[in-house]
């Protein structure tokens, strides 16, 4: 049974975004445009490594209304709207983000062991031994004075490293004093003082629009090229006086000695734990300290060619809605695999793909495997599309509230009656706003993952490739079906069936 679950989990339908194909854009204009669009779409090779970064599930895609194109997360431009803490949902004003080093300035800390959020706990005191007739001796009074941090997942608490607080709020401030005493911070402050005078003279600061702040490091970039270009480089090096270290740090020879004598690997920090404490990256677990939680951003996403806003979230950190939400789910048909029986070698099986239509208009879908072919035989499998041309009825909100089947009555062709003008070959089911079609696949090689490529153009000039992964192929000749091995994706054969859907 776990094999079946594995196959289900490894089957997918991913859509391809042609943003890397910048050089192959069509330059022709005129009445041939539609045909050119259809033909000049480059042939899609499913085995190229491009599918690993250019194909996405439909949940990750956006759709630009103006350009009528799919946009993927890699080809949208982002601008930051606000910074907020994921734990306390406090919106940090943009000015203080940099001074707090992109972390939350309030009580939000991260467990050094498991990186989950820590909660502030009041330590309890055992009740003083008084013979009181009223209270039950099992009730303990919470003194509340020394507060400490505790992790709910791994049960770590800050008392283990001796970190306690006087008040329950403003913990970051209470820690500020100990943070400032650290030798590396003091040394850095010294360095800053030394160079600050020189910096102020030589480089006038340039102000950048806040929209460009999303690119990290850009302010230092402009400083270097904008400001320093005018002074003579010789002059610059003469101005800076020699800097003397003020803080001496001893070499920690004991650490090497301790590491050599380790018996248990649990006494050393893991790489994740060390990377979360970049200031000193300790090897010993006792030297890990809770870090403040990183802030997150809310971003506006724009289409790369027409600068149209695709996603605009609300300003408040607690609000999860979007003011503008142009996602692919609401504009292009969603393909899902509804029936995926186990694929056996040399045995033809039918899989059923469901196309569901989110628009309020009817769409006509044209499927093709590659360049208008409906069957394809690669070395890995023989694929036949049984229903290359079909329509999908529009979406109607009433259907969400009613549980009856809404078979298409007057407009479409109900699949059950025989009086339909054309026989509905290959159409498995037509209900509500979706149509399920059958695809017959005969795997010819025993592979770990069978991928099918389909392209779907629409006559509103929308065409896209999809990659359909179908999971492992099993050789029934062996006694037990082999468990699908977790080989890297480069080994997988994929049936790529480009299907084109024409949406009218």
């Amino acid at each position: 049974m776990s094999q079946q679950i594995d196959a289900r989990q490894r089957s997918y339908v991913h859509y391809y975004c042609p943003c890397p194909d910048v050089s192959k854009s069509n330059n022709n204009t005129g009445e041939d445009e539609e045909e050119d669009i259809v033909e000049s779409i480059p042939d899609f090779d499913v085995n190229s490594p491009r599918i690993h970064f250019s194909t996405f599930p439909i949940s990750k895609l956006y759709f630009c209304d103006d350009c009528h194109q799919i946009r993927c997360p890699r080809c949208v431009q982002e601008e930051i709207v606000c910074y907020y803490c994921p734990n306390c949902l406090f919106e940090v004003p943009t000015a203080s983000v940099k001074s707090e080093r992109n972390r939350c300035a309030r009580n939000c800390f991260q467990c050094p062991i498991c990186q989950n959020t820590l909660t502030v706990v009041a330590s309890t005191e055992p009740p003083p031994p008084q013979p009181s007739a009223s209270s039950n001796s099992s009730a303990s009074t919470t003194s509340g004075a020394p507060y400490y941090l505790s992790c709910g997942v791994c049960r770590w608490d800050s008392q283990e490293i001796g970190m306690t607080f006087e008040k329950a709020t403003g913990l970051a401030l209470q820690l500020q004093k100990t943070e400032d005493e650290r030798p590396d911070v003091k040394e850095f402050d010294h360095l800053k003082d030394h160079f600050e005078k020189h910096l102020r003279l030589s480089a006038p600061s340039t102000t950048l629009p806040s929209s460009l702040l999303s690119i990290p490091g850009i302010s230092s970039f402009s400083n270097r090229y904008g400001g320093g270009g005018f002074t003579h480089p010789q002059q610059k090096s003469d101005d800076v006086a020699k800097y003397n270290n003020t803080i001496k740090i001893e070499n920690d020879d004991n650490l090497v000695h301790d590491l050599v004598q380790l018996k248990d690997v649990n006494q050393i920090t893991t790489l994740t734990q060390r990377m979360n404490q970049l200031s000193d990256q300790p090897y010993k677990v006792e030297r890990l300290q809770p870090q403040r939680i990183h802030l997150r951003t809310k971003r506006v996403k724009r289409c790369r060619s027409c600068r149209h806003i695709l996603i605009k979230p609300e300003q408040k950190a607690q609000a999860t809605r979007f003011k503008i939400k142009l996602v692919a789910l609401n504009h292009i048909p969603k393909l899902t695999i509804t029936s995926l029986p186990k694929l056996f070698l040399n045995q033809s099986t039918e899989i059923i793909l469901k196309f569901s239509n989110p628009l309020y208009e009817e769409i006509i879908v044209d499927l093709a495997l590659k360049k208008d072919e409906t069957t394809e035989t690669t070395e890995y499998a023989k694929i036949k599309l049984l229903a290359p041309h079909f329509n999908i009825t529009p979406y109607n909100e009433v259907w969400e509230y009613d549980e009856q089947d809404f078979n298409i009555s007057s407009k479409g062709r109900p699949s059950s009656t025989a009086s339909a003008p054309k026989p509905d070959i290959g159409i498995y089911e037509r209900r509500g706003n979706y149509t399920s079609v059958k695809i017959e696949i005969t795997p010819l090689a025993e592979v770990d993952e069978l991928k099918v490529r389909e392209s779907t153009p629409t006559t509103k000039s929308l065409f896209f490739w999809t990659v359909i992964g179908l999971g492992p192929v099993v050789n029934p000749a062996t006694v037990k079906p082999p468990a699908p091995t977790r080989s890297p994706l480069t080994n997988n054969n994929s049936n790529v069936a480009p299907t084109r859907t024409n949406i009218n």
Partner: protein
């Protein structure tokens, strides 16, 4: 063929809809929520006092030796317990599994969806948590002390 015999202590609460089979001894103050299953198939189950056994918990004893559960444990929703001995003050979180012959000490925490291996003896104060099931670390003593 184990005989059906329930001995339920005072102030214990056993809801209707629980499924109990075999020889079961429930201590005082223990609460059994509805839909839990205590199946003493091959041997008796002895549950201590002041435990909380939440919904959909399955406690099975597949061995002839009695399964002894201590006091003040919490068995959260959906967990599956098949060990040989459970100590006191443990917390077995939602959907956790204690398999085979393992015995739990005192004050342990088995995190959500985590499971132990079969046939091990888990020492006191162990915490099992995380994605990869078996990451263990020791807690300090319960967090109640006001040391130093």
């Amino acid at each position: 063929m184990p005989k059906e015999c329930f001995a339920i202590g005072k102030r214990a609460v056993v809801c209707q809809d629980t499924e109990m089979k075999g020889e079961i001894d429930i201590g005082s103050g223990t609460v059994l929520h509805p839909q839990c299953k205590i199946l003493a198939e091959s041997g008796p189950i002895i549950i201590g006092s002041n435990n909380i056994i939440e919904e959909n918990v399955t406690i099975i004893n597949k061995q002839p030796t009695p399964l002894i559960i201590g006091d003040e444990n919490v068995f959260e929703v959906g967990c599956y317990v098949e060990g040989s001995k459970i100590g006191n003050k443990n917390i077995i979180e939602a959907k956790a599994r204690v398999l085979g012959n393992t015995s739990l000490g005192d004050n342990c925490v088995i995190g959500a969806v985590c499971s132990t291996k079969k046939d091990e003896a888990i020492p006191n104060n162990t915490v099992i948590y995380g994605d990869h099931h078996n990451r263990r670390t020791q807690t300090a003593s319960g967090g109640v002390s006001f040391n130093k």
